[in-house]
């Protein structure tokens, strides 16, 4: 292959390296109005009245909007529409939007926001899922505080635990994590040349945004246009609406350009978070390490609004076994509303949390049974032909065993390196292993993608995709796939992406799905164009279609090697645009509401990480020296980007393991929300396994979220190896590690 499998630089790097890329706050506009959102100071309250008179008197203030100004449905949400763009009668978390100021300059809009008086009547508020589920808990939403309860059953766990020779039962807790993308949410609204309400801003899904805005403004879809600006990271935080609703509402009413830039503090306060999960996990195994049963209870806090709560609830349950053969499985997963900050999509949709639990359990079993941590995982690893806990038989591309085998040599090497630890007695070294699996795409529901590629008589080739590239490189991968099919270099294909004015729905940049699903749509569109070009060539030159094939951008004949006509030449002779179209929707089935049975994902990615850590026994400080990260991605369309995802994922996983903790009411910015810096990140050895997925484009699956999932449990297992005590609550901060060390001293190990 000439273009697929090659680590070409991303197509947008030049403008980024020159500082020319336009992010949300960089967009030029002629004298826009400046918007500012007035936000709730109460966790739960009735809105009695919103007084705007004083604010309206400030010079430069053009208009103040409240929920009353929303002409359509004032409820948004990707799964459950329960979140108002502007609160109407009630606020459910601190930071909820209540009013929107439009003014001639940012100073006036800020000043006015301070002068808007909201009269509240306090309601009792709920700060934990346990409290939310109590009988006398105040209702956060009318239908009750339980957003969703999901069950998964396979075999009979009672029998499974009877067969077990060892049973381990523990509770694992994770907390809120911020996406901490660097670019504050910002954007521009205007009426475009075709009269459409247009919003340009960072986003992970322009077509979802378009539907929500059309519904909010009660406009037909074609009257709304969303364009993705260069996006400074996403990680799930830009799957829900951020600035779109405000920009669209103001543009709709004022019919002039409007600009909104969130303050960095506002981003921390109001963008979704990773769901805190509390996981009770019971594992049963034979003496040889073979799992006989797992029983898992998951309780999640979705905060004030549903967002991706249902997804996290179901996905964490489905992935609860880890990438292992477990004959008897029982999982209950509940997602609950509280008045805490709302949680949504964040890189992994609950799988990083559940992996922390199942991999800690696996590590405990290995220790108790005195089996090597790689060996115990290999004995249980999923294989082709095995039925997962949802009853899905795995048909192909199950590379978990391969990742374990490939990584084994590194654990042996790392153990060798531990021997010199006695040189500095206060430093203890440890090695941790962790594996993961991740279902590509949305869970048990249709999540199609579409793409088109056209060739114009002038020779121009245009590829259309609705995919939002958020820095991971999907634009480059789209071009590589089209290039491979047509045999033309990427720079001969013009890419039009993530603009609802020109592109069709590709679904979200989420669930590690774009390479597999949109990649397939692009592949199919390119193949469709290939067929049409052959047909045209056959017509033009009077040669049978079966004799013709496409190679290096030319239609060639098998029987007459002299014939070699560039497709651009064929397009010129045809005189019309020739267009290839492709759609792809992975084959899944809905999950049974009682048992969770079904086919949630068409394919799964797998990985194993090994972390080498050292713990300072006096301070509790953990240093991760090296992470070996072995990923089965099916096929790396762009190995450089795959490695980029892996190394970036390891960094984010290191933060998840050791330092990241959003504390509601206390965390305000990067000053008190610490993420890994260049001094904190470990050396990473990325290893790519390509167990090809037959349904994937050139065999590809996905890697975006997978990159992060195995890191934190590998580090936590490494800490346990070093200090002989285990951390059950993330992050493993200095205090928690020190506490574990001190417990160890009290009770000799």
């Amino acid at each position: 292959m000439k273009y697929v499998g090659i680590g070409i630089p991303n197509v947008d790097v030049l403008e980024k390296v020159l500082g020319q890329a336009r992010y949300g706050a960089d967009l030029p506009s002629e004298s826009p109005l400046h918007l500012k959102v007035v936000r709730s100071t109460k966790p739960h309250a009735k809105i009695v009245e919103i007084l705007t008179e004083e604010a309206l008197c400030i010079s430069g203030v053009e208009r103040i909007f409240t929920a009353k100004d929303i002409p359509g449905r004032n409820l948004v949400g990707t799964i459950t529409k329960d979140q108002p763009v502007l609160a109407s009668d009630r606020v459910r978390y601190v930071g909820e939007a209540v009013a929107l100021i439009a003014a001639e300059n940012p100073e006036a809009s800020e000043e006015a926001a301070k002068k808007v008086i909201v009269i509240y009547e306090d309601l009792p508020h709920v700060t934990s899922p346990e409290e939310a589920l109590s009988i006398d808990a105040p209702l956060i939403h009318e239908k009750g505080n339980l957003l969703l309860e999901f069950h998964l059953r396979k075999g009979d766990v009672q029998t499974g635990f009877k067969e077990a020779e060892v049973i381990i039962e523990e509770t694992y807790t994770t907390t809120w994590v911020d996406h901490a993308y660097l670019e504050p949410d910002a954007g521009l609204g205007y009426i475009d040349e075709e009269g459409r309400v247009t919003v340009i801003c960072p986003t992970q899904n322009v077509h979802y945004d378009q539907k929500e805005i059309a519904s909010l403004l009660s406009l037909p879809l074609e009257k709304v246009r969303i364009i993705q600006s260069t996006t400074g990271g996403g990680f799930g935080g830009r799957l829900d609406l951020t600035v779109q609703g405000f920009l669209a509402l103001a543009t709709f009413h004022l019919k002039r350009p409007v600009k909104l830039i969130y303050t960095p503090e506002e981003v921390f306060q109001v963008i979704s978070k990773r769901h805190p999960l509390k996981i009770r996990y019971k594992s049963g195994a034979k003496k040889d390490g073979t799992l006989t049963a797992v029983e898992v209870d998951i309780l999640g806090d979705t905060g004030a609004y549903a967002s991706y709560g249902p997804t996290v609830c179901i996905r964490s349950a489905i992935h609860a076994t880890g990438p292992y053969k477990v004959p008897n499985v029982k999982v209950r997963s509940r997602m609950v509303y509280t008045n805490n900050p709302w949680s949504g999509a964040m890189r992994g949709f609950g799988v990083p949390q559940i992996a922390f639990a199942h991999e800690s359990q696996m590590d405990i079993l290995a220790r108790v049974l005195e089996i090597d941590p790689i060996e115990i995982r290999l004995r249980n690893a999923l294989q082709v032909g095995y039925e997962t806990a949802t009853g899905q038989p795995l048909m192909a591309s199950v590379g978990i065993g391969e990742t374990l085998k490939k990584i084994r040599i590194f654990t042996e090497e790392a153990r060798g390196g531990r021997k010199d630890e006695s040189r500095e007695p206060k430093i203890k070294r440890g090695i941790g292993v962790s594996s993961m699996w991740y279902g590509i795409g949305y869970t048990g529901i249709a999540n199609p993608s579409t793409a088109q590629i056209e060739i114009h008589p002038e020779g121009e080739i245009r590829l259309f995709t609705g995919v939002a590239d958020i820095g991971q490189g999907s634009n480059t991968i789209a071009l590589q796939i089209a290039s491979e099919t047509l045999g033309l270099p990427p720079d001969e294909i013009q890419l039009i992406h993530a603009d609802t004015g020109f592109t069709t729905d590709a679904g979200p940049t989420a669930a590690s799905r774009q390479t597999y699903i949109s990649g397939n749509a692009i592949l199919r569109a390119s193949k469709d164009l290939e067929r049409k070009m052959i047909k045209e060539a056959s017509r033009l030159f009077g040669i049978g279609e079966n004799d013709l094939f496409l190679e290096e951008g030319k239609i060639k004949s098998r029987r007459a090697p002299r014939i070699s006509i560039p497709i651009k030449e064929i397009a010129k002779r045809c005189g019309t645009v020739i267009r290839g179209e492709g759609t792809f929707d992975p084959e899944t089935t809905p999950l049974d509401p009682e048992t969770g049975k079904g086919v949630p994902y068409a394919t799964y990615a797998f990985a194993t990480h090994v972390a080498e850590v050292e713990v300072d026994m006096e301070t509790g400080k953990v240093k991760v020296n090296r992470v070996i990260a072995c990923h089965d991605v099916g096929k790396a369309i762009n190995p450089k980007n795959v490695i980029g995802q892996i190394i970036g994922g390891v960094a984010m996983g290191t933060g998840f393991a050791l330092m990241e903790e959003f504390i509601p009411g206390k965390t305000t910015s990067f000053v008190n929300y610490l993420i890994p810096t260049s001094k904190d990140v470990p050396e990473v050895i990325p290893i790519i396994v390509e167990d090809k997925e037959p349904t994937g484009p050139f065999g590809a699956k996905g890697v975006g979220e997978c990159a992060l999932i195995a890191t934190a449990p590998a580090i936590i297992n490494g800490i346990a190896d070093a200090i002989g005590k285990r951390i059950y609550r993330l992050p493993a901060s200095l205090e928690r590690v020190l506490e574990a060390i001190q417990k160890r001293k009290m009770k000799s190990p």
Binding site: G19, G233, P264, Q472, I643, I647, S669, S678
Partner: protein, 155 residues
Amino acid sequence: MKKILHFILNGEPVEMEIEPHLTLLQVLRDRLEMTGTKEGCGMGECGACTVLLDGKSVNSCIYPALEVEGRNVTTIEGLMNSRGNLHPIQKAFIEHGAIQCGFCTPGMILSAKALLDENPHPTEEEIRNGIAGNICRCTGYLQIIQAIKAVSQKT
């Protein structure tokens, strides 16, 4: 009361009238419409706003504009040479896959330049320290470190 500010921006003299409370970042982005320099955290924590002041890296989001009077400011827009060639650090960032979302990139490149101008052959630890004030959420830094190392080895 507005004040007159003179400074050299990417080699060109600039004279402008500004409100004395403005930061260097506000002057660059809002007044001169040079948006290559980014505002991330607005409080000097993330490094996205890094520019060079007389060759040293500063966080322009907290740097008072009047303090640059008479001094040399270099932003990402001024890094290409007069013949339109990329700076070796820009090239290395592309070659080593050191850019994902790219929001930290301008600041990161300028921090790297400040580091290499002062210490052309830094150790890995010196590189890690040199860019420790620049947060990147996407890449995990290693490709950035490799890119800087590669530039240092070529000189």
